[in-house]
């Protein structure tokens, strides 16, 4: 009768596991980029607001290609002049319905200009109002 042999105990070598795991961590740390979005929250009145109200003499900023026109007379202004004019309106002291600034942008206006104008309005405590296409046609 054969005697049972004692089998040698095989232990897997796990010493390199820690190295692999730490290398993975270093890889993740180095390749991770933390993106913090920068921007501005805007309160835009509902697009379906009463069009009759839009007909009121609200402050209007008209954008044509790269140009900014301010007020009912449509005087051409630079962005800095626009910022000064908007601050001069002292929106903070006015009720919300008197803070509305209508931005009438033509089809060829680049977003960069629109963005800067919208940011300037928001910074001056104005409220941006959007124009529907039908309303635009009227204006």
């Amino acid at each position: 009768m054969p005697l049972s042999r004692s089998r040698p105990f095989f232990e897997p070598d796990v010493t390199s596991f820690a190295d692999i795991a730490f290398l993975l961590i270093i890889f993740f740390i180095l390749t991770t980029t933390f993106i913090v979005p920068a921007g501005q929250k805007l309160d835009i009145p509902a697009a379906s607001a009463d069009p009759a109200k839009a007909e009121d003499k609200q402050l209007t900023v008209t954008l044509v290609a790269e140009e900014v026109h301010y007020g009912s007379e449509g005087a051409r202004v630079t962005l800095d002049e626009l910022r000064r004019n908007l601050f001069g309106c002292n929106f903070r002291a006015k009720p919300p319905d008197k803070r509305i600034v209508i931005v009438n942008a033509r089809a060829d206006v680049p977003y960069e200009l629109y963005f800067e104008v919208v940011m300037a309005i928001h910074h001056a405590d104005g409220v941006l109002a959007l124009l529907e296409e039908e309303e635009k046609a009227k204006k």
């Binding site: 920068a38 921007g39 963005f115 940011m119 529907e132």
Partner: protein, 133 residues
């Protein structure tokens, strides 16, 4: 006089748990990482001195340089944007929509997007880059 030499005890640092710790750290990073949904969308951000760092919102709309519209990183025609955003607002309970638009996009493309989002009752968070005053 006989001097007895002390036997030196070999110092061994137990490293058996290092692997466990490292793998746990890996799992933690993998679970908590938030992968960018819109890495494939090319958007050159506009600049303004008036913007600040803000919290990322769950709903994201992007309009790339070719005028393609993306909702949550997936293509979305402007005609169905309003409905899509309304559904997401209802599902997620967050009205804030991060809006990324390429700086060279013209109003004829981004105007309808603004209107659709406004109609959907979204609160817009315009994304840009801070420019030094």
């Amino acid at each position: 006089m006989s001097v007895r030499r002390r036997k030196r005890v070999k110092a061994i640092v137990p490293t058996a748990s290092f692997a466990d710790i490292a793998f746990l750290l890996n799992i933690f990073f993998m679970v908590t990482s938030n992968f960018i949904k819109e890495g494939h969308i090319e958007v050159k951000q506009p600049h303004s001195p008036e913007i600040e760092a803000m919290k990322e919102s769950q709903i994201s709309v992007a309009l790339d340089k070719d005028g393609e519209l993306w909702l949550q990183g997936k293509p979305c025609p402007v005609a169905v944007l309003e409905e899509g955003v309304k559904t997401l607002i209802a599902e997620l309970g967050d009205k804030t929509v991060m809006l990324k638009i390429d700086k060279d996009t013209r109003q004829e493309k981004f105007g309808p997007v603004f209107l659709a989002l406004s109609r959907a009752g979204a609160e817009l968070a315009l994304i840009g880059q801070k420019e030094k005053e």
